[in-house]
């Protein structure tokens, strides 16, 4: 009896996790335009929000968006705070060790360097450079492994801060996803430009979920297959990434 009462109190206090089963909670960062960002009204918007809503409609799930910082987005998935991550997350071996991914909804995308115009960095033989990355990204792992000797790798919590510090001259160059940088460079009126060679890392962007959530994985995968076949994914990519693609059309 005592146990029962305690459990009831706990369930009340903790918001009955068992009841939240029906609604799928999708976490996103909200600071990575055009993938996901907060629009002028403060609500989540972007490619992944449109795509996520389309997936939920296709799979007949009711979905709810949760904003979570990038650096804690995987731990909080594992803790059960939400069920799905759609945050421009590349599928990598390291991440597959802890979480599972659906099929990709964005093809493997080269990572690129950007710098202010007139950069004199010698990318064939990079040394003495301050390289800005977002912490916990594939680019951060790559830079730590391949560029750390002789250069300084500066890690930021959000892509915005990284960009602001490039503008302020605190880093010499940024290494980030090409698909994130392309619209920014195009809209910057020459304030930022691509430099150096592209680097191919990561296996495309997919939705992350817990390894034991096989049901949800099947549902999302089926919905994605259907949305790729009917052109929805390509349409959304073209809409948010300046006409890129098509990638998934039959």
């Amino acid at each position: 009896m005592k146990k029962l009462v305690l459990a009831a109190v706990a369930a009340l206090a903790l918001g009955t996790p068992a009841m939240a089963q029906e609604a799928v909670r999708i976490a996103t960062e909200g600071a990575y335009a055009p993938w996901n960002f907060l629009d002028d009204s403060g609500a989540p918007a972007g490619f992944e929000i449109d795509l996520g809503n389309a997936i939920c409609e296709k799979a007949a799930l009711s979905c709810e968006w949760i904003i979570n910082d990038w650096d804690s987005i995987i731990p909080n998935l594992l803790a059960g705070n939400y069920d799905l991550i759609m945050a421009g997350m590349s599928i990598t071996e390291e991440r597959l060790a802890t979480i599972d991914f659906t099929q990709n909804y964005f093809p493997p995308d080269p990572s690129k360097f950007v710098a202010a115009p007139g950069s004199t960095l010698d990318f064939a033989n990079l040394s003495g450079a301050r390289i800005g990355v977002q912490g916990g990204t594939i680019q951060a792992a790559y830079a730590e492994a391949n560029l750390a000797s002789g250069n300084t790798v500066v890690s930021f919590t959000t892509a915005d801060q990284n960009m602001a510090d490039l503008m302020a001259g605190n880093v010499d160059t940024i290494l980030a996803d090409g698909a994130y940088l392309e619209p920014v460079v195009a809209a910057s009126n020459g304030a930022i430009e691509f430099v150096g060679e592209d680097i191919l890392i990561g296996g495309g962007v997919g939705a992350g979920l817990r390894k034991d959530d096989a049901d949800l994985k099947t549902k999302i995968d089926d919905a994605l297959t259907a949305l790729k076949a009917d052109g929805t994914v390509d349409t959304l990519i073209a809409k948010w990434f300046d006409g890129k693609g098509p990638y998934f059309a039959e």
Partner: protein
């Protein structure tokens, strides 16, 4: 000109900015709640510190000595996490079954049913308690000193009038203590106000986080107004806010000082 004004008005009142303005409530709540708790913990700490029983006295001294030395940022990160995991551990002993424990893939909590999802309001409470605990240690020292500053003759006179020990404590001792404690407590309050800028460490979308987000350079028209790095403009607004709070606090403490000093003949009033 009119177009410009209309543009800025609509920019500064868009949903994102309104969310920013609304987030000031978190800062104000954390300061008021943290301040109240700091005074309560301070009173408890000072009582313990001047207790006749050695163990209680040691607890009081230990609290004010140790917690004062721990950096507030560290305590801010440590306490909510430790509290959350302690609650989850207690809940886990009640709700977890061997099956659910076996099904859990993450290292923590023991089973998924025991997970406690912390939202903004939970974090805000934990942040306030952290502030109260850290600055309560300072308040302990301030109040302990103030209690000893009340002239001994006042207490003896009260006893001579036949007041009981608790009447002496509440009607004379604590009543007169405030005059000596308030200058020190106003310092503690200002430290609490300053520490409220740490709220974003606990995933609370507070005024600092929003100033960061709104000020970050934006190049994409789809996201909102295209602008350069405007962070310093937004930080400036926060400066003005904190200076305003300081000014208001000084006024409030002056008024409190006058009020608590009424009828008290004391050199402490200055």
């Amino acid at each position: 000109m009119l177009d410009d004004i209309a543009f800025w008005v609509s920019y500064l009142t868009n949903g994102k900015h309104l969310t920013w303005y609304a987030s000031f409530q978190f800062t104000i709540f954390a300061a008021l709640m943290g301040g109240t708790l700091a005074v309560i913990f301070g009173l408890i700490g000072a009582t313990l510190k001047s207790s006749r029983h050695l163990p209680l006295r040691m607890i009081g001294s230990f609290y004010s000595a140790i917690v004062r030395g721990v950096p507030d940022v560290l305590f801010f990160l440590f306490f909510p996490l430790a509290f959350e995991q302690a609650v989850e551990w207690i809940v886990a002993t009640q709700v977890c079954t061997p099956e659910t424990i076996a099904a859990q893939t993450a290292p923590w909590p023991p089973c998924r049913e025991a997970n406690w999802f912390l939202g903004t309001s939970e974090y805000l409470m934990l942040a306030s308690v952290s502030l109260g605990l850290v600055y309560g240690a300072f308040a302990t020292n301030v109040i302990h000193g103030a209690m000893r500053s009340v002239p001994h003759g006042q207490l003896e006179a009260a006893r001579a009038y036949g007041m009981s020990a608790s009447q002496v404590l509440w009607r004379v001792h604590i009543r007169q203590m405030w005059v000596y404690a308030l200058p020190g407590l106003s310092n503690v309050w200002m430290l609490i106000v300053k520490a409220t800028s740490l709220l974003s460490l606990l995933q609370i979308a507070d005024i600092v986080l929003w100033a960061d987000r709104l000020g970050a350079p934006n190049f994409l028209p789809a996201v909102g107004l295209v602008h350069d790095d405007w962070r310093w403009r937004y930080y400036l607004v926060l400066f003005v806010f904190y200076i305003l709070v300081t000014w208001l606090s000084e006024r409030a403490f002056d008024a409190l000082m006058r009020r608590t000093g009424r009828g008290i003949l004391s050199e402490a009033r200055g």
